[in-house]
Symmetry: C2
Subunit: 319 residues, 2 copies
Amino acid sequence: MTPEFNLIATYFTRPTQRATLGVGDDCALIAPAHGCELAISTDTLVSGTHFFANADSFKLGHKALAVNLSDLAAMGALPRYVTLALTLPSINPAWLDEFARGFFALAESSGVELIGGDTTRGPLAMTLTVFGEVAAGKALRRDRGLAGDDIWVSGNLGGAAIALKHLQESAAIPKEHIESALACLHTPIPRNSLGCALVGVANAAIDISDGLIADLSHICERSGLAAAVNWPTVPQAPALRSVSPELALTCALAGGDDYELCFTARENRREEIATIGNSAGVALTRIGKMRAGNPHVTVLDAHGEPMNIPRAGFDHFTP
Amino acid sequence: MTPEFNLIATYFTRPTQRATLGVGDDCALIAPAHGCELAISTDTLVSGTHFFANADSFKLGHKALAVNLSDLAAMGALPRYVTLALTLPSINPAWLDEFARGFFALAESSGVELIGGDTTRGPLAMTLTVFGEVAAGKALRRDRGLAGDDIWVSGNLGGAAIALKHLQESAAIPKEHIESALACLHTPIPRNSLGCALVGVANAAIDISDGLIADLSHICERSGLAAAVNWPTVPQAPALRSVSPELALTCALAGGDDYELCFTARENRREEIATIGNSAGVALTRIGKMRAGNPHVTVLDAHGEPMNIPRAGFDHFTP
């Protein structure tokens, strides 16, 4: 057996329950449940771009899967399968063992089976493709927002962004908030239960990976609507309470990596949504309204006046 | 619009006919045809490992898709969808334009829709995930070989390996064969029509990406059988005719990147298989037999004597 096959056999082969065929052939074989469509998303994490080269590999295994599962959450799709393409500069058993442990811990708690992948030599990076099931025609799409919809977010925003600034030593946060902020950055919890519960209730949805304004802008563009966000209602990570108002604004509105859901829904769904939040164990907050108008996000201060907003969202190709 | 979104809009967004939802949301949405399973495969190509950093990007766009489609061919699955995760050191419009042209030329001729992906900044690499449809329970699996099966290969072998040695200046091939050998290496044609036609006819199948012996060994291991290959019957690339017998043996049996199919079938399928080869326009050659025994490939010379065979197959983590 060659090393590449040893690597897959040692770290990445687990029996599959649901898939017809998992790791070990030219292809995996799956079929979605009756009446369901497959939701599919793919995300790459590259060393030096998305994580530090010396990142804890257990947390990296978690995060690589979490950011992909978050895309399924945003569609309201139930996580089912994942493929993992891993590029490694060399074989480091301790690193791989921890990476696999972090990956499978989240995979198992999310009900996801690893059905295939690839291992190659090169600069450290990983591309995952996730597969979820959603009743045909019921997925939460970006283009389904309606004028008059409430805008909601789950959890709170800005924790990952302030943690990154803390690690880069460009911001100081109180000791008691460091751990929770770093958890937002390194081990985000994808909102899959929430996403599935919102099917048939929410209209449009997206996950907040690039910052609230950037991601809500995508709903605006796709739905052909404007959005107005009331800044005082935006739920902020606890670590933002003690930083400057400008920094809090930047982190909460333009910080990436939060992986909370932003969704829109009719006003008559408010009670139902509150119940869903309680069941899923996550705070859900109304932060604004969708309106007729050119696709654009306006942020309003406590007096209802438009604010100057920070640069909108993380982009890998912005110089 | 941010540069990443510009990049996707400019180069990688085409209307989808079959997918419910293509590029532009958190997930794509698809459903396999009634009675079909989805075959899924993922492969990464890394600059410096799988291709030269200065590789022609049109050919790279073709090859990145071709090597993935080849895995669908090996399962007998009809190509339907693909996702593309592209990691780029910078945005080079000329490079991207050619890459997209090469990619879409093959995608369109293969009936494949691009339904999603990711663009990230980092060392040049690409991970594709392909999706094909195959009638439930009918896929060509590695574990379905039977003792007494004929072993077949499509096309001829060793062209890509000798082309690589030519580029590395470690072997000389006659001028008249250089072009065809380089085409094997840079623009392989995946055997999808053949693979689909073999469903219900062949027993086990694999595509030859790591060399005939390495890949046939996988059928042996999965099927719990030995294989005997008659070297004089193995179809060799024309460029091998004028090189040393040792080099021809190495390239044809242990050279990677050929993307021909190797499959097994009962003896009473020979006529049917000859007809399938004619219809698909590809030579199909019987090269040996599957036998009861420990999983192992034996290569026999013209006198039926076992030969010493070269190192078996390409592995990214062999030092």
